[in-house]
Amino acid sequence: MDTTQFLKGVLDLAVLAVVEDADGYGYDIVRRLREAGLEDVGDASVYGTLRRLFAAGALSSYVVPSDEGPHRKYYGVNDRGRELLKDMTEQWKGFAEALDRLIDHREAA
């Protein structure tokens, strides 16, 4: 099914989680999100989210020169980003548990 609508609400959390695993540049983060199972994630959404989290001070960035390809702008999570990630993780877990309970309850009935 199309999970685009779900993704809209949790893309910040997903991006922060991926970048916290390891710093990455835009397209690398797109690929890692897809590999993690979020296949419907839009390229432009990821680039836009990175831009916004960076502007909000949750990410830091640095350019890595490259000999064969283009220079790449890497993003990493800073302290503020880690705090944000922690808050969002808690919120998500509470939300997901509530929804799980709701669905399980209906399936059991």
Partner: protein, 315 residues
Amino acid sequence: MSATTTALATITPAAEAYVVAVAAALAGVPEAERQDLLDDLADHLAELAAEDGEPLAVRLGAPEAYAAELVASAGIDVGPPGPTVVVPLWQRGVESVGRHLSSERADAVRAFLPELRPGWWVLRGWCAMAILAVMATPDEREVFPLPEVFGNPVLSIVALGAACTASVRLGRRRGWANAVATALGVLGLVVAVVAGGDRTEYVYETGDGYGYGFLTAPDGRVIDNIWPYDGAGNPLDGVLLFDQEGVPIDLGGDPGSSQVPVAGLFPKQQSTYEYDPVTGLERAVPVAPPTVSIPQLPSGTASDTTTTTTLAPGS
């Protein structure tokens, strides 16, 4: 940022076209943010160029959709003029007017308007006199510039001065009388405009003017004069025109009342009659030759010589 240029140097024309289309769709985004987003896009496309795969429009979607997604996820307030938000034209118009009304310039205009009030008071006095002039003598007397209330210019000027003075005084006092005077002033303006609009110009021929219209152009226009020109574009005066039987061409109407009528003499002297506001009299103004464009004549055409002509048999 230099990222755009370095990245763009490595991407294909198709990618470049994609960037241009996205850039156009981002037209509503503030310039600094727009440049950042485009730098990202250049990086993105450079990465995709390394994969050989589907066309960009399939892989990423339409450029406009990419731009909309980018702006939405980046949390930029000013959305691009995209298909998602369609504001009706009337609403945009109302908002635009609202913005103008609240702008500094509008404030300045509002602040300036009271300064124009004395001018209105004077105009109002004139309007009152205009009403009186029209009521007293609807057809014969002049309303503009001097409403002739008494048929005597000096008395009318004095009356006008008195009316304007009274109007200014009323205006400064601002009572109910002032309100009445304002209403009268507006009415007077309407009367003046209507009366002014009635004064039409008439064009008619010198002479008896009856019976012209014998010659019509193929499109039905009446030809009531002929303006001859030579090949160099100089208007000719006193030209005699004859038909195929040697009969002077007569368009009806006499060519000039003050002269002895000459049949077939062109151009006919015509005048416009204008009303002279200073003397109050009609004044004849000769009609000037029309503006014409002179075509390039074929070489060998005599334009300035012969006066005797053998007419070709009518064809």
